[in-house]
Amino acid sequence: MPTTRINGRPIDVNDEGFLTVPEQWDEELGAALADLVGQPMTEDHWQVIRFLRNDFGPRQETATLRRTMTVGGFPTRELFELFPGKPAKKMSYIAGLPKPKGCV
């Protein structure tokens, strides 16, 4: 797994660029990650990212879009507006969390 310099700090990532150590993340780094993928961040965006971080803590698993809706209160349609294209992946990338897992 590579280590790259992001925002002047050495950060462990996987081959796709997702953080592999969630503890290396802070909001300043999150802002830098959003910048890297060209994602503008407003307070609405940060609320989603903070929900994901808070939810990950005890579960050690990134919330799916369904969980972000039913537990976090963010309707899926709104997530697609905030993070256009592939919200689940963009959100987890900016939050410094693994992308929601698939299978096989």
Binding site: R5, E27, L36, R59, T64, M69, T70, G102
Partner: protein, 502 residues
């Protein structure tokens, strides 16, 4: 005497009941299995029914005939569980007290979770094969099929038997070729994941399987609704179809939501190695109903049950439970033309190529289409009814995944995962619990037992049956904690960040 109540008499519930009945005398453990009806569905058979490879009547048996003597079978719908009072409340007013509870009610397809799908299924434009009725209807629809665009679709992960939609696509392709009608049908495979196979080796080995069959793939498709004749995603893509074969959202049972015991998909959160419920004492989750980070599949249930039984017997005997589940899954994937592939993996090891269960001689091949794998899949129906449900071991298949015969590649070979001995889970001792006074044993298949004298509290409005409405939002203040830096050798740090492509 302890009272064990098992909710669900499918593959997991039946198997664990039979194993425990054989291992523990009836005067030490009273076992009750609760299910809705007396029909045990052989769910792996559903994918074969549309193609006439199995008759509908080959996919079920009576539930009670596979549940051993000395196990009470109660046929009734579950209203809810009260984990504090340790009681299961049934819809007919009965209550079953328990010392230990096993949740084995699985997951069910929920077309109601996707707007427009219930209507499309009723109108016949959409089909599904995750239920008995659905697979029979789909067989009928295929008999009338004259050509057009077929979309094979997964609504949302996780689903049980995650390879089934691929199997359907492969079998459909093969069925059309046999009828010399493949050129009149276009097939598109639509998935919410970023590929049909998401692990690197399986993806490389199997992506050709779709290309060779001329099956198009549409990835990252988060379905918003089904319109008449079109599947529409949240990001505005619309895929027209003449027939949609969808796997609806899969969710745990509604009683889980009514009891406040589940997550957003009505799954009961459980320990990855012991299957013990995380938030409730003396509750375990077996089969598809929990949150193990591996496939929801019969093989997983089978391996997990062996680990559970070992631990449970240790607890009953006052010993420390030590067995740990490794997430082992072993899945045959029918690929059509009388061949099948075999996947064998666990929490740490992705599906790899090689031979199974022995190096070189196999006889099964991993991630390759072979006739022998197909025979293995066919043999599985016999194994299911005659060995699996009876709690007998399956020949040649180890409980813990083995690296024997698997080919490691590149970095994986260098960093071969070594499983640490599992920490002894902090499980309350079964013997420490004061047991309920012994009750006289009940007859098998109890007739209406006396209703609970206390009127049951009705589920409150907040205990939603579907768990799909948005929650009230919390407002989060900025997080001012600082992140730690990587401890990697500064000389190895790349100056250019890796930017993912979305």
């Amino acid at each position: 005497m302890k009272r064990l109540v098992i909710l669900g008499g499918g593959m997991a519930g039946t198997t664990v009941a039979n194993k425990l009945r054989a291992a523990v005398p009836a005067d030490q453990l009273h076992i009750t299995v609760v299910d809705l009806d007396d029909t045990h569905m052989y769910q792996p058979g559903f994918v074969f029914v549309p193609f006439g490879m199995l008759r509908p009547s080959d996919t079920y048996n009576s539930r009670h005939s596979f549940i051993d003597d000395g196990i009470e079978l109660v046929l009734c719908e579950i209203d809810r569980v009260d984990p504090q009072a340790r009681a299961v409340h049934l819809n007919d007013g009965r209550s079953l007290p328990y010392d230990h509870l096993i949740v084995a009610t699985g997951v069910q397809p929920r077309p109601d979770q996707t707007p427009g799908l219930v209507e499309a299924l009723a109108a016949g434009g959409a089909q599904e094969f995750y239920s008995y009725d659905g697979s029979v209807r789909l067989a009928e629809a295929l008999r009338r099929w004259r050509g057009g665009h077929v979309v094979v679709h997964i609504s949302e992960m996780p689903i049980k038997c995650p390879v089934a939609p691929l199997e359907f696509a492969f079998l459909f392709d093969s069925w059309l070729r046999d009828k010399k009608a493949r050129d009149r049908t276009r097939i598109t495979y639509v998935t919410p994941l970023d590929g049909p196979f998401t692990k690197p080796v399986a993806s490389r080995e199997l992506s050709d399987a779709l290309v060779e069959r001329d099956i198009a793939v549409e990835t990252d498709f988060a379905v918003e609704r089904v319109d008449p004749g079109a599947l529409v995603s949240y990001d505005g893509r619309a895929i027209d179809f003449d027939m949609l074969v969808t796997v609806p959202v899969n969710m745990g049972a509604d009683w889980v939501a009514r009891s406040g015991m589940g997550d957003e998909a009505n799954l009961v959160e459980c320990d990855q190695q012991t299957m013990k419920a995380l938030h409730h004492d003396d509750v375990w989750v077996l089969g598809d109903a929990g949150t193990l980070k591996t496939s929801k599949a019969g093989s997983v249930a089978h391996f997990a049950i062996d680990v559970f039984v070992e631990n449970y017997l240790a607890e009953l005997a006052g010993r420390e439970p030590e067995a740990a589940f490794d997430g082992h899954a072993n899945c045959f994937v029918e690929s059509g033309g009388g061949k099948a592939m075999l996947l064998d993996f666990n929490y740490d090891t992705e599906p790899l190529t090689g031979t199974f269960p022995f190096p070189v001689v196999g006889p099964m091949s991993l991630l390759k289409e072979t006739r022998l794998n197909h025979l293995g899949k066919l043999a599985f129906r016999w194994i299911y009814w005659n060995l699996l449900l009876r709690g007998r071991p399956i020949p040649m298949i180890p409980i813990a995944m083995s690296m024997l015969g698997k080919k490691l590649e590149g970095e994986a070979a260098a960093n071969r995962p070594v499983r640490k001995a599992a920490p002894a889970p902090a499980v309350p001792r079964a013997t420490a619990r004061t047991s309920a006074p012994a009750k006289p044993s009940r007859p098998l298949v109890s007739p209406a037992a006396k209703p609970s004298p206390v009127a049951r509290a009705k589920p409150t409005a907040s205990a939603s049956a579907t768990a799909s409405s948005p929650a009230v939002r919390t407002t989060y203040p900025p997080d001012t904690r600082k992140g730690t830096d990587s401890k990697a050798d500064p000389a190895t740090v790349l100056d250019t960040p890796i930017i993912p492509k979305f």
